[in-house]
């Protein structure tokens, strides 16, 4: 009997550990990107804070938040666990990148809220949302829309955001009032919509690109349907939408056409939204390569092997393309030749390790030649791509 009980207990512990492993992996962590506005960096942290960081104050080593435009706003959500007793709240997960709307900052959270934040009110530490400062939360009540993964986009006086409930929400910039809600477009929308003139374009997991009227959210007549779902956010260049799909292809779709202009096959998904400049698409792939393709015909101009999955969209800095891999390596790639140089760790104790010793899944930005990257270790890193060196590591917790 003892043997049986021991066996039972050991098996149960094994099962419990495995289950808890599954549970922790299922918990959304968030990978909010960094954006810059007026010399200040805005981002969401892993522990659910929206933060304003002044690079100059960080370089001076001032305590955070300094009086130089820095603040942090913790966003929490009531705990929904059936096993928790009493009232408790947990930090939200943030996936989208904050967007500057005039002097304000807008972002969506995984808890299903859209927030408009006034940096000036945050500097004064006023209660959030401070309506007189133009701040708002949508929905205003305890209700939520589906989890928001993509970033908001601005169309005239409207904010558009995609939600996991499969709808696009259009909100008034000034008060956060609902202007329209689209019909359900798919199972869940985890992407950032793209806007051209008065039309909002949305790609879905079930393989559609929808065109919506920015005025009232009505579906326009053109719909593109692919055999497989789209995984990356769409990018619009001239009249063509570029988007990565689950069949490992990058699609170029001319607006109004029913067939793709071209398709390009990678060795894994094109998860990151591509970058398009001067007739060339630069697409980072989970196969660890960046492909430069001609926008007209999809002809491969060059490819650069970064040696690690590319989850974050590359960015253009001067005449170079900055590529960051998920394992934490940073490369500066020549736009014309496709030859790249990895930025190495100058610290002897870190030799052989990636430049940033943490996973990188979020979008990053550049101020002059300095690239700012938020990693999954909840730190903000700055990398000088001109000098090819890691400048700063700033813990966000």
């Amino acid at each position: 009997m003892k043997v049986r009980i021991l066996a039972f207990l050991s098996i149960f512990c094994f099962l419990a550990l495995s289950i808890s492993g599954c549970m922790s992996s299922a918990k959304p962590q968030g990978y909010s990107g960094v954006t810059s506005h007026d010399g200040i960096l805005y981002l969401g942290s892993v522990d659910g804070k929206i933060m304003a960081v002044n690079p100059s104050a960080r370089n001076q080593g001032l305590s955070f938040p300094s009086s130089n435009g820095e603040w942090s706003l913790p966003i929490t959500t009531p705990s929904k666990s059936i096993l928790s007793c009493g009232s408790s709240s947990t930090p939200v997960s943030i996936y989208g990148t904050p967007v500057a709307v005039g002097d304000l900052i807008c972002i969506g959270t995984y808890s299903g809220k859209v927030l408009m934040i006034n940096p000036s009110a945050r500097n004064q530490d006023l209660p959030f949302p401070h309506m007189r400062s133009g701040e708002w939360i949508y929905p205003r009540t305890d209700d939520t829309i589906g989890p928001i993964v993509g970033s908001p986009v601005v169309v005239n006086d409207t904010i558009c955001v995609c939600s996991s409930d499969g709808r696009v929400y259009a909100l008034d910039i000034t008060y956060g009032d609902e202007k329209w809600i689209s019909a359900p477009l798919g199972d869940k929308l985890w992407t950032t919509p793209v806007v051209k003139e008065e039309t909002v374009y949305v790609s879905t997991f079930d393989g559609h690109i929808y065109a919506l009227s920015a005025k009232n959210g009505d579906l326009l007549s053109w719909v593109f349907e692919a055999a497989t779902g789209f995984v990356s956010s769409p990018v619009l260049y001239e009249d063509t939408v570029f988007v990565g799909a689950l069949d490992r292809k990058l699609y170029a779709v001319k607006i109004g056409d029913n067939k793709p202009l071209w398709e390009f096959l990678g060795d894994n998904w094109f998860w990151a939204a591509p970058v398009v400049d001067d007739g060339i698409v630069y697409a980072g792939c989970l196969d660890g390569k960046v492909y430069a393709l001609n926008t007209e015909r999809g002809k491969e101009l060059w490819q650069f092997d970064a040696g690690g999955r590319i989850v974050s969209s590359p960015i253009l800095v001067g005449d170079s393309l900055v590529v960051v891999t998920e394992p934490g390596n940073v490369f500066v790639v020549n736009l014309k030749t496709g030859s790249g140089e990895g930025i190495k760790n100058t610290d002897d104790s870190q030799k052989g390790k990636p430049l940033i010793d943490a996973r990188i899944q979020s979008s990053f930005c550049a101020l002059d030649s300095i690239v700012y990257i938020r990693a999954q270790d909840n730190c903000l890193y700055s990398v000088d791509v001109a000098k090819r060196e890691l400048k700063l590591k700033f813990p966000l917790a």
């Binding site: 043997v3 098996i11 099962l15 495995s18 599954c22 959304p28 997991f205 689950l246 998904w269 989970l286």
Partner: protein, 253 residues
């Protein structure tokens, strides 16, 4: 080690499940794939299960004899052990033999529920992680994202209606009840009783916490387990004591 686990067990299971779901009707796609794969895994492990059931039954049949020995040699532990081993040897039963088939099956079950969780890809990180495990098969890539809806369930969300929790807990209790022999020893009886209720209760609670895809797999597994027990041991086993169980005990004496 993690890479080896993925390469040999997890990846084939995830891709198999997705390939299977791509040929099923879209409305019930993933729910049916979970059930079918559970049945397939159960069928593949039938020889092990049969061995385990036979060993368990043999052990249960020997219980009255062993209890008698305990009474007889209760104070002399060494003698008791020797006599017990002798009885085991005579009956051709290995006392831990009923556990090995169970332990061998365990990694398969863990891989199965890991693949369910991964294929469901309930968060963006999960979807990103899923890309590591997929083969370059067109059918697999076209099956993503899987349809989370099955009957009243959203397989990516916990079922708060309690229906699934009751079904999981109920079937687990039933399966255990069918195999747990009533004991004469009051101590053993209370332990068995506790086990009989603890596991279903815990799994019922887990059902309320986990995405429904996982409890659906538990439910399918329990139902198949009950059916196997029914047909292998020939009936409802110890579900209908006291007469049948008692007769078993008496027969053992």
């Amino acid at each position: 080690m993690a890479d080896l686990w993925s390469l040999i067990i997890l990846d084939p299971m995830i891709n198999g499940m997705l390939a299977l779901s791509s040929v099923l009707p879209r409305e019930t796609q993933f729910g049916l794939a979970i059930i079918i794969l559970t049945v397939v895994v159960r069928l593949l492990s039938t020889p092990l299960v049969l061995r385990q059931l036979k060993s368990t039954k043999a052990m249960q049949d020997m219980q009255p004899k062993l209890q008698e020995m305990q009474k007889k040699y209760g104070k002399n532990k060494q003698k008791l052990q020797q006599e017990m081993m002798k009885v085991y040897k005579e009956a051709g039963v290995n006392p831990v033999g009923c556990m090995w088939p169970m332990l061998v099956q365990f990694p398969i079950w863990i891989a199965l529920y890991q693949s369910i969780m991964k294929a469901l890809a309930t968060t963006p990180e999960n979807l990103l992680d899923l890309s590591r495990h997929l083969y370059a098969w067109e059918t697999v890539n076209q099956a993503i994202p899987v349809n989370n809806h099955f009957l009243w369930l959203n397989l990516g969300q916990p079922d708060h209606t309690m229906i699934l929790a009751i079904l999981v807990g109920g079937t687990m209790w039933l399966q255990q009840k069918m195999t747990t022999a009533p004991s004469i020893d009051p101590k053993q009886q209370s332990t068995s009783k506790m086990m009989l209720f603890m596991m279903p209760l815990m799994f019922g609670m887990f059902t309320l916490m986990f995405p429904s895809g996982l409890p659906l797999f538990w439910l399918a597994s329990n139902v198949i387990g009950i059916a196997t027990q029914y047909f292998v041991t020939g009936g409802w086993g110890y579900l209908k004591p006291p007469s049948s169980a008692h007769s078993l005990l008496v027969r053992g004496r």
